[in-house]
Structure formats: C-alpha cells, structure tokens
C-alpha cells in the first residue's frame, strides 16, 4: 500500500514538472532607433538619430549615433525631403528646402535593422496674440565668490536679487481651443554675465524655468528665475499632443516602469511639428 502511494506521489511530481511551458525570456536591446526631430515652418529639417543606451548586466553600454541612413520625409504639400547624413547622428535637408506652413502634414520613413520606421505629424498654427506685460526688468548682481553674504537693504534672499523690480512678468496669448503651449526663455548674449555668482568652488543648481506644456492662455516668468543679464528671447511654442506626452512621468524602478510615450512606429523618441512666436526681453543690471 505504502509503495503504491509513494509511486503516485512521484508520478504526480513528474507530471507537474513536465507541465511547465515556455515563457518570456528573450530581450532584444537596441532594436529601435531614437529619433529627435522638431519641424518648424520656414526652417530646414534637422533631426538626430541614435541608439538607446542598452541595458546589459555585465558591461556598461552607451548611446551611439546612427549615421548613413537614407531618411525620407514627405509633406502633404507634395514636397519630399531626402535628408543628408552630416555626421554625429544628425540629418539635414538642403539649405533651400524648408518646412512648409501650418497645417502641412509630414511623414517620416526609413529602414532600420530590417524594419520600417515611420511617423507623421502636423505643423501647428502660429501662436495668436502673444503679449508680454513688460519688456525689461532690473536685477542686482550678487557676488558670493568671496564667501561672504553681501549686505542688502532690508534683507532679502539671494534668489530674489533684491531691488524694486523684483517682480513677475506675465505672458498672455489667445487659446480658445485649449491647444498646448509651451514657454521657453533663451539668453541671446554671446557672453552672458551671471546675476548670481556662486561661492568659489560651489555650483548652484540650475534655476531653469521649469515649465510644462499647458492648455491655458497665460504664464508667469519670475524675475528670480533669470540666471543672466542681457537680452533674452521669450519663445511661445504651440505644440502637438505627442510633445506634451513627453512630460508624463516615466518610471525609474523595476516596480513602476512604463512604456515611453512616442508616436513613432518601430522607433522611439519624438517626431513633431512646432510653431512659435518670439518676443524680446531685457534683464538690466542695477
């Protein structure tokens, strides 16, 4: 009796082991190229193509630029760009081949590792009625390089910069259809001067304008956010949903990984049309 029982256990065990089926085990890193392309009207096409940083358990991988692909972008206006590989993963259209006006649709196509990589986007309209409530502000330079805190009237933090013009700059535009807009600020000086000189040996974190694409019709720039004196371009971009999607949080641990947002088939990254309006702005030195 006991023997039969033991035999039954062994038999059941055997069946159990043989019952195992195949599951996911294969990983193919780097099959998809990363594309970075922003198409702006009346500009040449310039895009970057590179590999992802492959994840391997053993060696440290890096991102490699991909050159020598034959990339074609065809527009709904009948114009076709045959991009030229200029090195460092950059592809450009000829100098006289410019992106068309708003509402033009562009389709990207090329072959990579036996797969057809494709994406399409539309050039959005130019922002309407972009206004700024002041064109200049003044800031006082703060020099902390000596390591001492400079005396300032009435106190005031280093981030405020002090002075009466410590204020906010309001940007407005029309946006009845709640389309995504995005504000960027660029210093246009050739050798910009810092407003806040950090203590020697120390670096300050980057006080970038941490903006996100918004569907509203206004935005505020804080005077404290400016890092440099001089002329600035305040650019209002009108962007598509595929660009806004980049700002969604993506996981960083094995518990919360999410697929990166992209509109590219067999590829990753961004291929999108943009349009912009630019205003001038000056940060004066007190």
């Amino acid at each position: 009796m006991k023997k039969i029982y033991l035999l039954a256990i062994l038999l059941a065990f055997q069946v159990f082991l043989m019952g195992c089926t195949e599951t996911n085990t294969v990983i193919n890193p780097g099959e998809k190229p990363i594309i970075e392309a922003y198409l702006a009207p009346n500009h040449r096409v310039s895009m970057k193509v590179y590999t992802e940083i492959p994840y391997t358990e053993t060696s440290e991988g890096t991102s490699v630029n991909i050159d020598g692909l034959s990339i074609k972008i065809s527009g709904s206006n009948g114009k076709v760009f045959n991009l030229k590989s200029v090195g460092n993963g950059v592809y450009e259209s000829a100098e006289n081949e410019l992106v068309g006006a708003a509402k033009t649709t562009y389709t990207l196509e090329f072959d990579y590792k036996g797969r057809k990589v494709a994406a399409s986007t539309e050039i959005p309209a130019k922002p309407i009625n972009f206004k700024i409530d002041k064109t200049e502000i003044s800031r006082t330079q703060i020099d902390l390089s000596s390591g001492t805190f400079p005396p300032m009237g009435g106190g005031g933090g280093p981030f405020g910069g002090g002075g009466e013009t410590n204020t906010s700059v309001e940007l407005t535009w029309d946006n009845p259809e709640n389309i995504y807009h995005f504000v960027a600020v660029e210093n246009t000086e050739t050798s910009p001067i810092r407003i806040l000189i950090p203590p020697s040996g120390a670096t300050f974190p980057n006080f970038r304008f941490t903006n996100e694409p918004l569907t509203g019709s206004s935005n505020i720039l804080r005077s404290q956010s400016f890092e440099y004196f001089g002329n600035h371009d305040v650019i209002l971009y009108r962007v598509n949903a595929e660009y806004a999607a980049l700002y969604q949080s993506s996981g960083t641990t094995s518990q919360n990984l999410s697929t990166p947002p992209t509109s590219i088939i067999n590829g990753l990254g961004i291929f999108t049309g943009i349009n912009a309006d630019t205003l001038k702005f000056l940060v004066k030195k007190n």
Partner: protein, 910 residues
Amino acid sequence: MKRIFICFLLTTFWLPIKVFAQTPKPTDVNNQIIKDEFYNNIALPTILADLEKKYSFKILYDKTALKDLTVTYWFANETLQNGLKAIFKKLPFKTYVDENGFLNIVSKNVKVETAVDRQYKGNAEKVDFTLTGRVVDYTSGENLPFASVTVKGTKLGSQTNVDGYFTIQKVPADTVTLEVRYVGYRTRYFHLNPKLNINDLKIEIEPAIGVLEEVVVEGEKTEVLKANEIVGMIKMTPRNIAKLPNVGERDPFRAFQLMPGVSASNESSSGLYVRGGTPDQTLVLYDGFTVYHVDHLFGFFSAFNYNAIKDIQLYKGGFDAKFGGRISAVAEITGKEGNKKEFNAGVDISLLSANAYVETPLGSKFTFLAAARRSYKGPLYNKLFKRFTSSNQTQQSGPQGGFPGGGRFGSFSATQVASSYFYDLNSKLTYTPNKKDILSLSLYNGTDNMDNSSSSDLGGLGGFGGRNIGLNTSNTDVSNWGNLGGSLKWSRRWSDRFYSNSLICYSNYYSNRDNSRNITTTRDGVTRDVKIGQIEDNNLNDFTAKTDFEWKVFSGNQLDFGLQFTKNIIKYTYSQNDTVKVLDRNDRGSTATFYIQDNIKLFNDKLHLKPGIRTTYFDVTKKNYIEPRFSVNYNITKQLKIKGAAGIYYQFVKQINREDISNGNRNFWVLSNNESLPVTKSNHLILGGSYEITDYLFDVEFYQKNSTNITEYTLRFVPKIGQGLSASETFFNGSEIVRGVDVLIQRKFGDFNGWIGYTLAEAKRNITAFSDKAYYSDQDVRHQFKAIGSYKYKKWDFAATWIFSSGRPYTSILGAYQLELLDGSVKNFTNPSDKNANRFSDYHRMDVSATYNFNANFNVGFSIFNLYNRSNNWYKRFQVITEDDVTALQITNVNYLGITPNIVLSWKLK
C-alpha cells in the same frame, strides 16, 4: 455540576500532615473571613498552625517543604485561600481545594489530578448517548474554539465550534476516555464517569507555558502548530508565535509565512501570498467581519495584535462552502473574550511599539477585553520608515527644484516635518446570559499615518517699502490608511444537535494619499495656491448580515448551511493637480448568498466526505454564481491518510496592488462589474497525503488553481495626454495557472522541535495586453525552503528560522535614452523589457531569537532579523547619468532590510 477534586502527587517525598475534625464541613470552615491577622517575618508553617488554631481551618500541607519560608503578610478581611494566593504569587506554591473540602498547599510543579484524570473503574450506566460540552482554558476560563475532542482509541469525535462547544453523538459508553487537543495547550485525557453531566461537560485544558514545563507527563505534549486535520489547513495560537524570531512585532501573519505554501520572501508585505495567490485573494475574517487590509508600516507588520487573538486558522485552498468571496485562501481569526476568572493585564514593550491589554470578568455573565498598541519613533521605527521613504525623496527632488538647504543664505530654509505612527485597538465585550446563548460585541480599529512632508520657505524677501513678496512651497506626502470594523454576534445552542451563529458586521477600509506640492505665493497680501501632484482617496464600506447553522442530523452526519448578505460601497478617486480627476469610481453592489454543506463520516469514521454548494447572486452583473465544493479525507491506517479537495471559487471585490510606493497609493479596492473588471473565478484541485507518528508529521499536498478574469493594474501603457485614463487603459484581464506542491516535515514535540517546509510552485499569467506569451506572475517563486527550529534550555527558549527562496520575477529595461526638449533641458526615458522576464537573485535570510523567562509572567526576548546581513533585492532603480559628456545607465539595487536586532519585554499580571 459539582466538581470533585482529589489529590494526586508526583513528588515522592511528600508527607502530608492531616488536621482533621468531624464537624462542620471543611468548605464552610475554610470560607471564614480572616478579619485582621498580621504576621511579620514568620515561618509559614507557624502562620498556618496559628490560623488552624484560631479558625479551625482544614489545611493539608508539607511542613518540611514550607519550613524555610518566612513570610510577612497582613490578612485583612479576606479568606484564607485569597490570602495564601497573594503570598504564593512569587513563590513556587499553589493552593487548591480537594474533594473533601480541604485546602491543599502544593508545589506549582505538581499536577493536581481529579477523578476525570483517572480511568473510571466501574460499569457504564449509559451507552450510545450524545455528549455535549465545552473546552475551556484552565487559566482564564475562556472557551476555546476549534479544539479537537475525540473518543480515545476510535475515530469518533468532533471539533469545538467558534464558541468552544462540541457535541459527539453515539458515544459508546459513559466510561470512555476523551482526548482533547488544542494547539499550544497540553493534550488532556479526560476520563468520563457516570456522575458527570453529559449535557454540559466542562473540560479545562492547560496552556503549555515554558517555565511550568519542568514536569512533563507522558502524553501531555503540545504542538506549535497543527497542520494535518483538514485539507490545506494550518492552525496556530498566538501563544506560540511569541517564541519565534521577529522584526519588531510578534506577528501571527508573519508566522504563517513560515509555513510551506505561504510566501516568505515579500518583506514589504505582511499579507498572505498563499499558493501563488495575492493577499487580496485571501479572505481575512476577524470575529466574523472581513478585514480588507492587513498591513502596518508599509507592510512590515500585520494589523493584528497577538495579545487580542485567541485562535487563527488558515485554509490554504479547497475551503468549505461556508467561506466565499475570495479565490485563494481564508484566514479565520477569533478574538479573545477576556479572562472569565479574574482581572488580568499585561504589557509588551519592544523597540518599535508599546502594547498593553486588560481583561476582566464583569459580574458573572460579562467578560471584557481591550488591547491597544501604538508605535513610537524609536530607532527601529525610523529604520523601517526610511527604507520606504528614501526612494520617495529621490523621486521628488526633481520637481522640488533641489534647493540647497542650510542657513548660509539667510532666509532660506527647508524643513522636514515627518510625523508618522500606527496604532490599533481591539476590544470585545461578551455576555453569556445562560448556557444556551452567547452575545458578543467586537470592535477593531487600526490606523497608519505616514507623513513624509517637507516645506521650504523663501519668505522674508520683503521689506521694500511695505511690499512683501514671498514664495512658499510645501511638499505634502501623506498616506494614511486603516480599518474600522465591528461585529455583533449572537450564537445559540438550540439543542445539542442544532446550533446557530448570527452576525451583523460592519467593516470600513480607507486609504488616502496626498503626494503633492502646494505652492503658495503672496504678492501684496494676495495669496494664490496651486497644488501640483497626485491625490488618491479610496474608501470601502462593507455591511454584512449572516447566519450559520449547524445541524447534527444523526451520528456521522452534520449539515452546515447559512445565509449571507453583503453590501459594498467602494469609492476611489485619483486626481492630479487638484483639478483633473483621472479615475473616479463610485461602486455599489451587493451579494446574497446561500450555502449548504454536508459532513459525512463513513466506514467507522475512516472516510470523511464534505460535499457542499454555495450560490451567490451579485446584483451588479445580475447573475448567479454557483460554487460546488468537495473535500475528502481517508484514513488508510492510523498513521497514513490521503486527502483531496476541489471546488469553484468566485471573487467580487478586487484589490489593486501597486508595488511602487513612490507613484501613489499602494492598494485600493474596486468592485467587479460587467465590463472592465469581470468577476474573478478560480478552480481548485488539491491532492495529498500525510503520515503521522507520535513525534513526527510528514505531509504532502499537490495543488493546482486555474483562475480566469484575473485583473492587473498598470500605468505601464501611458495614455495620450489630455484624454485621462479610462478603466480599459489601466486594468487588464487575463488568466492564471498556479501549480505546486507543499511538503512539511514536522518534529512535533520535545525540547528541540520545529519543522522543515518546502514548496515547489509556479504561477503563470496570461494577459494579452502585456504579452502574447504567458509570463510569470509577480508573486511567482519556484523553490521555497524553510527550516524552523526551537530549543528549550532551562529558562531559555531559543529559536531560529532560515528561509531560502528563488528570486521573484521583475520587469527590467531594454535600454534608456535621453531627449532634448524645446527649452534645452534633457529628459530621461526608460524602455521596459517584456513583463517579468528577469529574476532577482535568490532570497535567503536567517533570523534568531532567545527568550529568557524570569517566571511565568515576565520574559525578555532578544531577536535578530537577517542575522548574516544578506542583501536581498527589493527592486531595481534605473537612472541615466551624464558625466564628462558620457551618458551611461546606472542601475541600483534597492535591498530589503539588513541585520536588525530587537528586544521585547513582556509582562503580565497573571
């Protein structure tokens, strides 16, 4: 019933001195009140002689044994017995009244025997009768549920019900011996005699307390756990858990994780991953009401206070028709009623929490128990808290802007205001108006509050001609969750064959999480508030009314049937930036259930069959769900047993488990519906056998569970912005197959005892949205080996556990990349691999503990968790870093707890 006591002594040198008088009756004499007698540093025999002279007390004692004891005591308006009780509190003696009414003084080691401890020699007066009684704790007088009572030498027997009562039909004679077994208690052989009341037998059994175990009579042994009675069931009493190693709290759920078939490698959850299932698939009943969430402190401990618990049973699968609504397992917890004999209180203090309880009889018909526990911010608490929140802080440093802290720059300051705690409270009031009815009200409340908020203040920029400009940002990161539950129970023994148990219960689970940045700007006295981040709110209400009936139709056949009605109201909202509601669910549904199950014993009770059926109407889907259940036990020989169970199980509420704390609420409940969240169904099949001899148990069970409509929640698939998340984009359904075998080898008794458990299992899911091939479930573990040993040496109890488990699967990345955005900033992206295609390295750790028992009422426990400081993987973090124009991928292993010592001091009054 009048109890008759006689004295039986094991000590050989015992020479009793009898003081005897004809009249009046010794009991009356001994109950006299001693008004005022003061003895200062006088030998005890002298005191006793003096009292005997003055009051004519009838006392039996050993003069030589007591001669060295000098006592200072003031008898003031009390009986002799009470006075002696107070004197003997710290001495190794006790008193009892024998059958002639004499007061006996004996050593505490001496086992006091009564008539029922010896075989009755006379002839039987009754044959083939029905015996009814209850099993009671000798020290507290509490009734003991689910104790086994069998007629010795036969298979005839029964189990006490939840109130501690049992009925055995067709008892062959009133002179047989009953064998009463209960985990954590000494087995008692109770010899019937014709004078006993067979309709209300009270069997007292003694808990196996370490210090008193110096004299162990053959046969009076105790087991740490019981794993062989019913298919897939394990039974434990909290008393046994105290001696096992712990990481801060003595935890019944952590103790179950040491059993084969219950996963032990999920340190971040005290929930029960039973046989490839997830914790939400385990029904947790506390005094009849459902507890929806069992975690304290992010899951390091379960929400159950072992001081308030009398009994726990875990059904690992194939469970009875009585239980439903979950597809994996059932943990049935019975709370203590409180001491029926006298007031008692106790305190436990560990490096993590303080725990106190009181229990008392209130009059002759009420008992009351209250137990409370609260954490305090000791070093251990901080260690555990940081383990969970450090990952969080790195997540947040991005949006926060990474301001340099410190006072160097004057007015800028960043403060971390973290106040976190957990507490729980159990209380129970029991009313026993007569021998037929028991009414009890049980309440439970537990809360966790985790605050990891910080605030930074850029104020003080003002002072410019009366203008005041300030900028405050505060990071709120508050999670709080908890349970509030209660049940009112009425049980009645209508006759010795018919019993009912009716309950009205309420259970609430809530979980809120506010992980957001509150930005307040002040300009010229005008304040503007903006909230950026995510806010989650889950609130579940369960209203249940149920009645269970037990009808012993005839000997060898018992019918269980019952009705249950449950209404669930579950709300879940998930909003971003205090405006956009990503998910907003408000589910209502009710289930109406009827079940019936027959217990059939055949062939001299060798074969035990339990066919049953459970049918539930769910008003959301407007469908009937029929669940047939069947289990069988067959005793081939006295030692060898084969067993099996099969059944269909449905689950109507689902908990969505999110491992990742940084991204929000870890768990929330939702109700099934017709569309995106179908009712989960599972088919169980269990086959096994066991071989049990006096000191050892070998047990093997094979199981397979086929489940359909398993739901998994993920934010893996990022939806297009502006559309919000629809249920179909975050909930994915598929099927799961779990297969495995649990092996248990237990050494049940002796100074060295313990068990070895091994599980070979596989859990595979098939959810097409993730992969067209099957993938291993998150909780899938191939091999799990557990060795638990405890050793008793003098006043020390030592215990050690070693756990080895193959690594869990995880989702890795194929690669990562960076994109430059329009403002020139760079953002990192990771590209996930196939779902769960990788595995962590093996998990193993050893825990040890040593408990020193000063006496029966006071002990100190030392415990070390993860003794050899093994780094076990919890999860991996992937970051893209750029240094000197080289962009590379950085992978960090985030590990579970390293070596963690703890001390627990336990004291109780009685």
